[in-house]
Point group: C2
Chain length 205, copies 2
DNA sequence: GCTTAACGGAGATCCGCTCTCCGGTTACGA
DNA sequence: TCGTAACCGGAGAGCGGATCTCCGTTAAGC
C-alpha cells in the first residue's frame, strides 16, 4: 500500500498545478508548481513524468466545464439568452484561468485541445444556429465566428488581469452587440468551417 | 571614407530586418535577419550592437505612419468615415507587419512604444471624441476602447496570416458595428485613461 | 599590387527549462 | 521501539536556443 504522505503530496501537486496554470499559463514550469506546493522538484517528477501529464489531469476538469456550459445554454428557452449565458460563463472561466484560455486557443496542451474541441464545436454550432434561426443573431455571422470572438477576448482577459478583473465583460458585451441583427453586411466571408481547428493555433510559431 | 560594400550591406540589413520583423515578429533573431539578407552574423553585429538598435531604425518609419493615419483621418469631414478609415489603414499595416503590432501592443520594443504612444493617443482621442460628439459613436464608449479594439484584433491578424489575408476585415467590421450607437449600455466602465499605456503591456510576464 | 577595412560563420557564453540522482528523512509493519 | 523500504528534496547535469565574439579570409580602394 502506498504511504499517506505520498498520496497527500500528489494531491497538493494537482492543486498547486491548477493554481499555477491558472495564474501564469501553460508556460509555467513543473519546478514552479512544486515550489508553489511547498515541495521539491524531485517529488513532482516522481509523481508525474512531465508537465504534460499533470496538465492533462488539471485541464480535463476545466475543459469539460465548457462543454457543460454549452449544454446548459441549450437548455435555456430564449436562444439569445442562452448564447449570452454561454459566452459569459465560458469567458468568465477563461478570464480567471489563463491555462484554460491557452489550451482552448491552441497555445497550450495540443492533445487536450484536440480531445475537447470537436465536442465544443458541436454544441456551440447548435447553440449558434438556433439563435440565428430565431433571428436573434445577424444573418451574415457564422458559428466559426464564435471561435474568433473567443480568440479576440484573449487580450481582454490579459487587460482584466492587470487593470480590473471584470473588464472583459465590457468587451464581451461589445462583441455580443455586434452579433445582433441590424448591422450592415460584413465585408469578408467567415473562415471555412474546416479551418476551425487551425483558427486559433495561428499564433503558434 | 567608408567602403561601398559596407554601406550597401547596412542597407540590406535594414531591408531584411523590415521583412523579417514583419513576418516573424520581434522575436526574430539578428542571426535570422543576417541570413535573410544573405550576410554573416558578424556583419550584422558590426553594423548594429544588438537587435534593439536595428529594430529602432526599422520601427520608427512604421509607427510614424500610424500617426499620419490618424492625422489624415482627422482631415476627413465625416467623423465616422474618418474613424473607419483610420481603423482600416492602421489595421491593414498591422495585419501585414507583425513587428508593428507587437510594438504598439507592448510586446515588442518598449522604447519605441513609449516614444510613439502619446502621439497616437492624442490624435486618436481627438478623432474619437469628434465622432462621439457627432453622435456617430455610442455614448458609453471611450477613447481607451480604441486601444482595446486594436489589442483584440491581434488574434484576428494571426488568423489572417494562416487562413485568409483579408479575414481581419471581417472582425474589424464586427467591432466597428459594435461602436455604433443604438446598443444597450455596456456593463463595465472603460479602463481609466491613465491605464492606457498599461493596457496592452498586459500580456507581458 | 598592397594595405586594410569589412566579411563570414564557427563556436564561446549565457540562460532558462527539463529531468536525474542520491544522501537524508519518515511512515509503517513487526 | 526499531528496521527498512518508500519517499522526499534540491543541487546540478543535460539540453536547446539566443546573443555576441574572434580571427582567418576576402576584396575595395588607392
Amino acid at each position: 500500500m502506498s504511504r499517506r504522505d505520498s498520496v497527500r503530496n500528489r494531491e497538493r501537486l494537482v492543486t498547486s498545478a491548477r493554481e499555477v496554470f491558472a495564474e501564469h499559463g501553460f508556460g509555467a514550469t513543473l519546478d514552479d508548481i512544486a515550489r508553489h506546493a511547498g515541495l521539491g522538484t524531485g517529488t513532482a517528477y516522481r509523481h508525474f513524468p512531465n508537465k504534460h501529464a499533470i496538465a492533462a489531469e488539471v485541464l480535463r476538469d476545466a475543459t469539460e466545464q465548457i462543454v457543460v456550459d454549452a449544454e446548459e445554454a441549450l437548455a435555456i428557452e430564449d436562444p439569445w439568452d442562452g448564447l449570452v449565458q454561454f459566452f459569459q460563463r465560458t469567458a468568465s472561466r477563461q478570464a480567471t484561468d489563463r491555462g484554460l484560455y491557452e489550451t482552448l486557443t491552441g497555445q497550450g496542451d495540443d492533445d487536450e485541445q484536440a480531445r475537447i474541441w470537436p465536442r465544443i464545436v458541436a454544441s456551440v454550432t447548435e447553440l449558434f444556429e438556433r439563435g440565428q434561426r430565431a433571428g436573434a443573431i445577424r444573418e451574415d455571422a457564422a458559428p466559426q465566428d464564435v471561435a474568433a470572438v473567443f480568440a479576440m477576448l484573449g487580450p481582454a482577459f490579459a487587460m482584466s488581469r492587470t487593470i480590473d478583473p471584470e473588464l472583459w465583460r465590457r468587451y464581451l458585451a461589445l462583441m455580443l452587440d455586434a452579433l445582433r441583427p441590424g448591422h450592415p453586411p460584413l465585408p469578408v466571408p467567415p473562415p471555412p468551417a474546416a479551418a476551425l481547428d487551425t483558427i486559433l493555433r495561428s499564433s503558434k510559431k
